[in-house]
Symmetry: C2
Subunit: 151 residues, 2 copies
C-alpha cells in the first residue's frame, strides 16, 4: 500500500497546506500502513458507535456503495461491516478533518442496531472511573454474539 496516494484519491502530499485544510479537493492522508481513522456516529442521536480504520479500497467502496467498509487490522482484510452479523451501516454523511487523515461517517445502524461485536449498540459501553477501573454503562445486548458469530 502506498503511504501517500491511493487510486482513486488525490495525493494528500500534492496539496499545499491551505488547499489541504481549506480546499475542496478530497485527498485523504493515509498513514504508513495505508490507513485513515474512521469514526462511525449514529445519525440522529450522535452516539459514537465505533472507531476503526479504512484503507483506500474500503474508503472507495464506502463512498461508492453507501455502506460502511473498513480495513480489519487484526485480520488484515477488507471488512464489510455487518457482512457476518447483518448489522450493515448505511452512510448518511461522510466528513473529513482539517488535515484529512480521519473520516467521520454518520450512519444508520441497520439489523438489530448493534455496531459492536459484543451485541451492544456502541463499542463504547464502559465508563473510565479512574486509571484502574471501568464501569459498565448498562447498555443492553441487542444480540447474543454466540448466536451471530458461529464458527
Amino acid at each position: 500500500m502506498s503511504t501517500s496516494t491511493a487510486a482513486p484519491f488525490a495525493d494528500n502530499l500534492s496539496l499545499d497546506h491551505t488547499s489541504r485544510e481549506e480546499g475542496t479537493t478530497f485527498a485523504p492522508k493515509f498513514d504508513a500502513h495505508g490507513l485513515v481513522i474512521a469514526i462511525a456516529q449514529e445519525a440522529g442521536s450522535g452516539r459514537v458507535l465505533m472507531v476503526a480504520h479504512m484503507n483506500a479500497e474500503a474508503l472507495r467502496l464506502t463512498i461508492e456503495t453507501g455502506i460502511a467498509h473498513y480495513w480489519s487490522r487484526s485480520r488484515q482484510s477488507l471488512w464489510k461491516k455487518g457482512e457476518s452479523s447483518g448489522e450493515l451501516q448505511q452512510v448518511v454523511e461522510m466528513r473529513t478533518d482539517c488535515d484529512q487523515d480521519a473520516i467521520l461517517i454518520s450512519v444508520v445502524q441497520t439489523g438489530r442496531g448493534a455496531a459492536c461485536h459484543t451485541g451492544r449498540k456502541s463499542c463504547f459501553y464502559r465508563i473510565v472511573e479512574d486509571a484502574a477501573t471501568l464501569r459498565d454503562a448498562g447498555d443492553p445486548r441487542l444480540f447474543d454474539p454466540k448466536d451471530v458469530y458461529k464458527s
Copy 2:
C-alpha cells in the same frame, strides 16, 4: 515507549479476552507507538470535535486533571489542548471501547468553543461529496488562527 503496558495502567495483554472486553479493569491497549486513539465529542450536542492520540502520560494527565491532554505526533510531544489557544477541554466523561484501544471523551469545549486550530468548533467541517470533492459545511470561525497562533 512500551508497546504493551505503561504506568500507571494495567497491562492489556495480562487480561484474557473476556476480562478485556467485559471486565472492570482499565487496561488501555497502546499501539506499537505507545498510543491510543482519542475522540473528543461535545457534551450535550454529541458533535464530534476532533480525533487525536494519547500516550500513557497524556491519558494519565487527562484522568487526573479532568483537562484533555493528547500526544502530538507531528511535534512528538505532550499536548495540553488549548494551552496556546485557551481552548481547553473539560472532560465530562471518558469511555473506552471493547478492546480498549480507543478512548472517547465527552468534553465541554471552553474558550471560544473551537476545538479546531482553524478556529472552527469541530475539525470535521467539510463534507465528502464524492471520491474527489469536499464541500465546506459552513461552520463559522470562532477565532482567527492568525491572532491566536502567533509565531
